[in-house]
């Protein structure tokens, strides 16, 4: 195995030569070992500690859900006029985080950004767990959890009733469940070859059976690879518009209404940009420590981190663009309530939330203009935390300030979160991290096959001269 700490600065650009995506002189076998080590070696004590913490927070989350279901949604701070309090804020927050994985696997794949291979698995897993967290909130927000199935068009002779397909909330049901389903099978499809690797390496009979079943008898046959690659391309082509649609539809929940501050046509792309932004923020939050803990510096190079930082900068600026457009149009549109809504956001009773949002989302990523910031792990970790906070507050600002101050001054009110609200927000992180830690422990957290296919060739081929024959020549159109 190559030395981990071989010094190559991958962030230096040489326009003629592409920076290698894997450093450290690895060959195929050592990549396998580097990744499988995480699953095969003795579990570090840190994992147990983290898991214990996450699982207990998760326990609290479940307890709170139980309390909520038993008692009713009155345990939340939701009130009149702020009917949508923390639950929706948390929902949109988590759905947003759930955008990065599919975006990395699909859109970056389409754009042939090969650096995605080192981080896509990781991000996809994060996506799925975030969507799990997101899905819980609307489900418990309906109050009577046991009739959740009414949201789906299931035929019933009792009521002969069907969901109202003209409601954006129902579109959400379809969008989020489709997104969850497609993300899971996309993620799983990507893992099949890696699970086969784990299967072929393990001697533990139980794990072998489990991995055998999960890898579906994958052999790595060229014919299978051919279809597999086509399938992967098709998945990417499907997931790219899907990932756009999800947050677009989440934005419709707000934007189709007439509440001042919600009814803004830029919401769809703005929400998508925000989602990508928060998703990449979370990717960075998780990746920086994971890279350190598991010694993945050779696969997840500084170049990878720098690229993520750049995406954060771009999407953060897009969000800033949307904030600016909203403000400008709020004035330009000439609608007094709309204008008031935006002034109220910035200078009303929730001014602090607005300024947390702007400073975290728009200002803090501007540090990534400087290369120093893009290449200092601790700093990007800190900024990524800011991004997470800022994006949560963005949803808070949108949801709460608009509801608290709508058209009628007589219906104005304030939102006061309860302890249960805070507990559930924290608890959802417990769910997220519990799932994530389990995945890190038992699943292949780096897409080994994909990394192998984009890494520099480790061997001097004995048939180098003949290679040109096999490689199709550049054909003139």
């Amino acid at each position: 195995m190559a030395t981990v700490n071989e010094v190559i600065d991958t962030t230096i650009d040489d326009p003629g030569n592409r920076t290698p995506l894997v450093i450290g002189g690895h060959d195929y076998g050592s990549i396998t070992k580097l990744v499988c080590r995480i699953n095969e070696d003795k579990t570090p004590i840190g994992w147990y500690i983290s898991f214990a913490v996450a699982a207990s927070v998760l326990g609290m989350f479940f307890a709170l859900i139980g309390y909520l279901v038993y008692t009713g949604v009155g345990v939340w701070g939701n009130n009149t006029p702020v009917y949508w309090g923390f639950p929706i804020v948390n929902f949109v927050f988590w759905v947003g985080i759930g955008h990065a994985g599919t975006l990395i696997s699909a859109i970056l794949f389409i754009f042939r950004q090969n650096w995605r291979t080192s981080i896509n698995r990781f991000a996809e897993a994060m996506t799925i767990f975030a969507v799990c967290c997101a899905g819980i909130f609307p489900a418990i927000h309906i109050g009577r959890v046991w009739v959740f199935y009414w949201l789906f068009p299931i035929p019933s002779l009792q009521l002969s009733m069907w969901p109202n397909f003209r409601s954006p909330l129902l579109w959400d049901v379809f969008a989020v469940s489709t997104y969850a389903t497609v993300s899971v099978i996309f993620w799983y499809t990507g893992m099949i070859p890696d699970l086969a690797t784990l299967r072929d390496r393990t001697d533990n009979p139980i794990l072998r059976v489990v991995y055998s079943i999960l890898s579906l008898g994958w052999t790595g046959s060229a014919r299978a690879w051919s279809r597999y690659e086509k399938a992967y391309t098709l998945f990417a082509a499907l997931a790219a518009p899907l990932v756009l649609s999800v947050h677009t539809i989440v934005s419709f929940d707000f934007a189709v209404s007439q509440i001042p501050g919600w009814h803004t046509t830029i919401f769809p792309p703005y929400f998508v940009a925000g989602a990508v932004f928060s998703g990449f923020g979370m990717v960075l939050t998780l990746m920086v420590p994971a890279r350190q803990l598991y010694g993945l510096h050779d696969i997840v190079t500084m170049r990878h981190l720098e690229n993520v930082c750049k995406i954060l900068l771009v999407t953060g600026s897009m969000v800033g663009y949307a904030y600016a457009m909203e403000f400008f149009i709020a004035w330009y549109g000439g609608n007094l309530t709309e204008k008031f809504a935006f002034i109220n956001r910035a200078f009303g009773p929730y001014w602090w939330a607005y300024f947390i949002m702007v400073s975290c989302n728009v200002i803090s990523p501007q540090l990534f203009w400087f290369k120093k910031c893009r290449t200092t792990p601790w700093l990007m970790f800190v900024i990524s935390i800011f991004v997470n906070i800022g994006m949560w507050f963005e949803r808070f600002v949108i949801t709460v300030t608009s509801l608290a101050r709508d058209f009628l001054p007589s219906s104005w009110g304030m939102f006061h979160p309860t302890l249960v609200d805070y507990g559930m927000l924290i608890g959802s992180f417990g769910l997220f991290f519990t799932l994530f830690l389990l995945f890190v422990r038992f699943g292949p957290i780096v897409a080994m096959t994909e990394v192998k296919s984009v890494m520099p060739k480790p061997y001097k081929s004995p048939v180098h001269d003949e290679q040109h024959e096999a490689e199709p020549a550049v054909e003139p159109a």
């Binding site: 195929y28 068009p153 579109w171 060229a222 649609s245």
Partner: protein, 495 residues
């Protein structure tokens, strides 16, 4: 390399050659294809570009499957929304039409994607014949590295070009090969274990039980109330008509006596329910100053009384029960003021014969104190048929079905029968009663008959009186009492 098993003649099914680098594999693949082998396959830890051409793998049909299913998904989305929202459950909400395309596009889009994604996943598995858990290649120890860092080329012995030694020689001659391995057939059993078959049969048999339960549930009754798995708001904290307000969910009942509503306070009249006492009693109050007294209800109100119980003046009550009183009343004073539209039962205009009341007799109303039209009589007929005909019979001859049944029972010597034949309404005694008297009888009963005052509202009772009069007229009337115009109509009908 060789199979280290001690199986009796393991059957060779293929040949594997191992490489350490992908380029050598690509070259070998190219050579094998050019040599005319078709049943070949390569095994690599990651997808190798160029191997499709080298091995001659044709492009997959997968995109077509996906396109087809995607179109199906979109159509399903469209039809789902159209049928459910515009056909099955048509419903206008927020001023949007039952079916409007813009609002339906998101779901169409999502379902298109969902179906396409399923097509990609399951189509890929199906085309690759996965899952396939048992594979003879897995028995080759070296093959475990096909998912790690080794590259393999395999050939099936059933290939037309396969010659045991020649092919092996060719394989051994590949540049960069690091081993040629024979692949043998898997010796493990190929037949399904019997126990699986038995489990399958048991499951199939068990599957008959739920339909049987359903069938019996469909065709039987039960003493247990309706099954409602979700009883959320079935029972609410409120008092419905005719319910007890007993303890509910640990809360005390509304009223200590368990009633959900309060009875009326005796002697009060609800707002808007004041009615002319004449209408309620059938008695013209000669002693006008006593008007108020009848309102005072000595008895507690019957449950659900919807009107103040109308009681005759206290002094009237004993009188009404005296059998002697029903005889006198001679004339049949019918006052039909607006008798325009009258069927054949119409009475001729006749001066109301003043009836000198017997001393103890109250001052009975001699005419129906409500407006009488044919509608009133029809209403009376309807009410009569509901309440009176059960005993008095539809024609009023005292031969109602209940009465007949009672006599049947008496004939069968059933114990506890205390039945008397109901009055025939066509007897002179009844005919001669003033209207007020008949009304009174309906209200309070007479002799062995119980009163229907609580069951029938006063207007209806008066309507019944008119109908009784009409019934009587069918027996006493003469053709010349029929108005000429009606007569003509009847003649036209051929009667």
């Amino acid at each position: 390399m060789a199979q280290d098993s001690n199986n009796s003649e393991p059957k060779q099914i293929g040949l594997l050659v191992q490489f350490d680098d992908p380029d050598s594999l690509l070259v070998a693949c190219d050579k094998v294809r050019k040599a005319g082998y078709t049943k070949t396959d390569a095994y690599t830890p990651f997808p190798l570009h160029g191997i499709d051409e080298a091995l001659g793998i044709k492009p997959t049909k997968l995109p077509w499957i996906v396109l087809t299913l995607g179109i199906i998904g979109g159509t399903v989305g469209l039809l789902l929304q159209y049928t459910t929202n515009a056909e099955f459950y048509p419903f206008i909400i927020s001023a949007k039409p039952r079916f409007s395309l813009p609002a339906n596009i998101p779901v169409i889009f999502e379902l298109t994607i969902l179906h396409s994604a399923f097509a990609v996943f399951f189509g890929m598995l199906l085309l690759n014949k996965l899952p396939m858990f048992s594979n003879p290649l897995f028995r080759v120890p070296e093959f475990a590295r096909a998912t790690d860092d080794k590259f393999f080329l395999a050939i099936d012995v059933t290939d037309d070009k396969y010659k045991p030694n020649k092919t092996k020689e060719m394989f051994e001659g590949f540049v960069g090969q690091t081993g040629v391995i024979d692949v043998f057939e898997d010796p493990s059993p190929n037949e399904l274990p019997v126990v699986i078959k038995y489990i399958g049969i048991c499951l199939a048999v068990a599957a008959i039980i739920p339909p049987l339960i359903l069938w019996s549930a469909l065709n039987s009754t039960s003493g247990a109330p309706r099954i409602n798995p979700i009883r959320d708001m079935d029972i609410q904290l409120r008092a419905d008509t005719q319910t007890q307000s007993t303890e509910f969910q640990g809360r005390p009942s509304v009223f200590p006596d368990g009633r959900a509503m309060r009875p009326r306070i005796p002697g009060t009249v609800a707002r808007g329910e004041w009615t002319d006492p004449v209408l309620l009693t059938g008695i013209v109050p000669e002693t006008a100053e006593k008007n108020v007294i009848f309102l005072q209800d000595e008895e507690p109100a019957k449950e659900n009384a919807e009107k103040p119980a109308e009681e005759p003046k206290a002094e009237d009550k004993p009188a009404a029960d005296k059998p002697a009183e029903e005889k006198p009343a001679d004339a049949k004073p019918m006052d039909e003021k607006p008798a325009d539209a009258k069927p054949e039962e119409a009475k001729p205009e006749e001066g109301a014969a003043p009836t000198p009341p017997a001393e103890p007799e109250p001052n009975w109303v001699k005419f129906v104190p409500i407006e009488v039209t044919s509608e009133t009589i029809k209403r009376g007929q309807n009410r009569f048929n509901i309440y009176c005909s059960v005993c008095h019979g539809y024609a009023g001859e005292g031969d109602g079905l209940v009465s007949r049944r009672a006599f049947e029972l008496i004939d069968q010597a059933t114990p506890g029968m205390a039945w008397l034949p109901p009055t025939n309404l066509h007897t002179d005694a009844v005919i001669q009663q003033p209207d007020g008297k008949i009304f009174h009888t309906i209200t309070h009963g007479i002799r062995k008959m119980k009163g229907y005052g609580d069951q029938i509202p006063p207007e209806d009772r008066w309507a019944i009186v008119t109908y009784v009069r009409a019934l009587q007229k069918t027996r006493t009337g003469t053709p010349d009492e029929i108005p000429a115009i009606k007569m003509k109509e009847l003649e036209l009908k051929g009667q």
